[in-house]
């Protein structure tokens, strides 16, 4: 089962490397990893998607917490959360099927972001399973290449969303 973990961490030299070293050193699975700034300077948020049995997952959360640069680890699988992923997909088209492909893309609320005489590039965002479905639907036309961002996620709830990171810092 896929699980999503949100890690709030100090934006320090080598902080990302510590987390990747942890996963390789302990033999944990890592499905995707994204990192970016937060509303607080010097603090980053990392979203990890991992798979593992409960016992392994429990260790993953504890080991992440154990890192010195880690401020907070939240298991978003246990929370109401919004998770989104971005994909860029370049698909081959022929004379007759271009509108068919773009129509399909529209069903997934995607956007055409590049076109030439052979290929179309789509931008699609949404939960990871929606991206999977889009890829499956486009595959028969011939996917030239694609890139996926990995999921980013935040806990739902207006109040938490506004205060989450700042609260953590004030409380710690």
């Amino acid at each position: 089962m896929k699980r999503t973990i949100s890690v709030v961490l100090e934006n320090r030299f080598g902080a990302f490397n510590r987390i990747s070293t942890l996963f390789s050193g302990k033999g944990f699975n890592l499905h995707s990893i994204t990192i970016g700034e937060t509303e607080v300077p010097g603090i980053s948020r990392m979203t990890l998607v991992t798979t593992g049995e409960d016992k392994v997952f429990d260790q993953i959360v504890k080991q992440l917490n154990r890192l010195i640069d880690t401020i907070k680890v939240v298991d978003l699988s246990k929370e109401h959360a919004v998770a989104r992923e971005l994909a860029l997909i370049t698909v081959h088209y022929k004379k007759g099927n271009r509108s068919e492909i773009t129509e399909l893309c529209r069903l997934f609320e995607g956007k055409v972001v590049d076109i030439n005489n052979k290929t179309l590039m789509f931008e699609i965002t949404g939960p990871s399973d929606k991206i999977d479905a889009a890829i499956n639907s486009l595959a028969p036309y011939g996917i030239k290449e694609m890139a996926r961002s990995g999921a980013i996620a935040l806990k739902r709830g207006e109040q938490e969303r506004q205060l989450a990171t700042k609260q953590l810092i004030n409380h710690s």
Partner: protein, 465 residues
């Protein structure tokens, strides 16, 4: 190396922060001299608090040479690092209740009790409640080995009665230990009937190897003190002690001592008696380390220095030098095998240069003995690359050439004389080489991956005796 050359594959450049990341608690690269004081403060804070561990600070050459106004911070605040020292009081109350009502309790004590300085609290808890205490390799010294309540070491080369007690107990209290594989053997057969209480300062240690019933995250010294205070009455465990003593009689720690041959066990026993368990003993890794753990009765904490979980041969000689500088008033005794001794043999020169009165004992069986033991027991007696008899140097000559006094013997009657001569020397290091029986093995032994109850107490193939 100056910082502007970082990443240029410069002369002697190595990514030391990257290399040491998995083997340190934390590490730092200082990129501005203004950060140096705060970094050093944080490094000492991290190294000495929570679960202590090594912290590395990489300081480029130009940062060392640069100048700035020195302001050493009084305090340090780290958002991501808040060790929890006080265990949850309701959990501690629950632990005390379980322990009070236990019929077959055991305290399983690790090195954390020594690191937290909780040995007095442990002695109080154990003695007031008449509780059996077994220790891990790193826990030796946390409780006096000569005390009647001590069961000695548990695990792969632990005593028969300690392992039997752990496997048959109904309440197991782990204090500052981590359920290491050398302790538990096969995890699903480890103390299956026991209600397991795990006290550790590291939350990640809980349920890592063995799933426990009652975790208490906190400093083990504080937790033991609170637990002792909550013990309004001692459990009634006379039957349990009878059972433990019966196991002790069934399979005591003994060895052949009538054939006139020199054995490691004799050397360690004599050393233990002679020093009353009060020397600082620094062992290397292998058979001699296990025999020392079995036969040296450590009287005090912090007198047992050994490479435990990591098991790095070559540890003893340099560690003994460090131990001397920390405790110059104590007798410092290094014990190594002939294999491990050669891994840092050059440090004898350092010890001689500083005129350190360290006693370096070599237990020479002309083998990488523990590997040989595994080859005999588990690899169909295929003895590959463990026989050192053709390649070992003359240790006495080497030691003398490096400025030490050195003696050797293969006679059990000479042990006392060797120690007399060694302890008479106070102005330089002494090397004592004990040429012991070549193919001796450490028993009892729990085969790797076996259950504690699968312990072997004797050699399988008597003809190799």
């Amino acid at each position: 190396m100056p910082s502007h050359l970082i990443g240029k594959d410069a002369f002697q450049e190595a990514d030391i922060v990257g290399i040491t990341r998995p083997i340190t608690k934390h590490n730092f690269l200082v990129r501005d001299v203004k950060d140096l004081a705060m970094t050093i403060k944080m490094a000492f804070y991290l190294a000495s608090t929570g679960k202590p561990g090594p912290v590395l600070v990489d300081i480029p050459k130009d940062i060392i040479a640069n100048k700035c106004a020195f302001e050493y911070p009084e305090t340090v605040e780290m958002r991501g690092y808040k060790p929890n020292y006080h265990g949850h009081s309701s959990q501690i109350k629950k632990a005390a209740e379980k322990l009070r009502n236990a019929k077959r309790p055991v305290l399983y004590v690790g090195g954390g009790v020594i690191m937290s300085g909780g040995t007095k609290e442990l002695a109080l808890l154990a003695k007031e409640n008449n509780l059996p205490v077994t220790m891990t390799l790193q826990g030796l010294g946390a409780f006096p080995g000569t005390d009647d309540l001590s069961l000695g070491m548990l695990g792969m080369h632990g005593t028969y009665w300690a392992n039997m007690a752990v496997n048959n107990c109904d309440v197991l209290v782990s204090l500052g230990a981590r359920f290491d594989d050398r302790v538990t053997g096969k995890v699903d057969k480890f103390a299956v009937d026991a209600y397991k209480i795990h006290v550790d300062i590291d939350p990640a240690a809980i349920d890592k190897n063995v799933v426990v019933d009652l975790p208490i995250v906190g400093d083990v010294k504080h937790v033991i003190a609170e637990l002792a205070a909550e013990m309004s009455s001692a459990p009634h465990i006379n039957d349990w002690w009878d059972q433990i003593n019966a196991w002790k009689d069934e399979c005591p720690m003994d060895y052949e001592d009538n054939d006139g041959l020199l054995r490691t066990e004799m050397v360690i026993e004599k050393l233990s008696e002679r020093t009353k368990g009060e020397a600082v003993i620094v062992t290397d890794v292998g058979q001699h380390q296990m025999w020392t753990a079995q036969y040296y009765k450590y009287a005090h904490p912090r007198s047992n220095l050994t490479s435990g979980g990591l098991g790095t041969m070559g540890f003893s000689v340099p560690a003994a030098i460090g131990a001397y500088f920390a405790r110059p008033d104590q007798p410092i005794i290094s014990i190594s095998g002939d294999g491990g001794f050669q891994m840092n043999i050059q440090e004898l020169i350092t010890a001689a240069a500083y005129k350190l009165p360290i006693k370096f004992i070599i237990i020479n069986n002309s083998f990488l003995g523990m590997v040989r033991q595994w080859q005999e027991l588990f690899h169909a007696e295929k003895f590959s690359f463990t026989d050192l008899s053709a390649s070992n140097p003359d240790f006495v000559k080497v030691a003398e050439a490096m400025g030490c006094v050195a003696y050797a013997t293969d006679d059990p009657k000479e042990i006392d004389n060797m120690f007399d001569k060694a302890f008479a020397v106070t102005d330089r290091p002494v090397v004592l080489e004990f040429k012991v029986v070549k193919e001796n093995m450490v028993f009892p032994m729990v085969p790797a991956g076996g259950a504690l109850s699968d312990m072997m107490v004797k050699r399988l193939n008597p003809k190799l005796m």
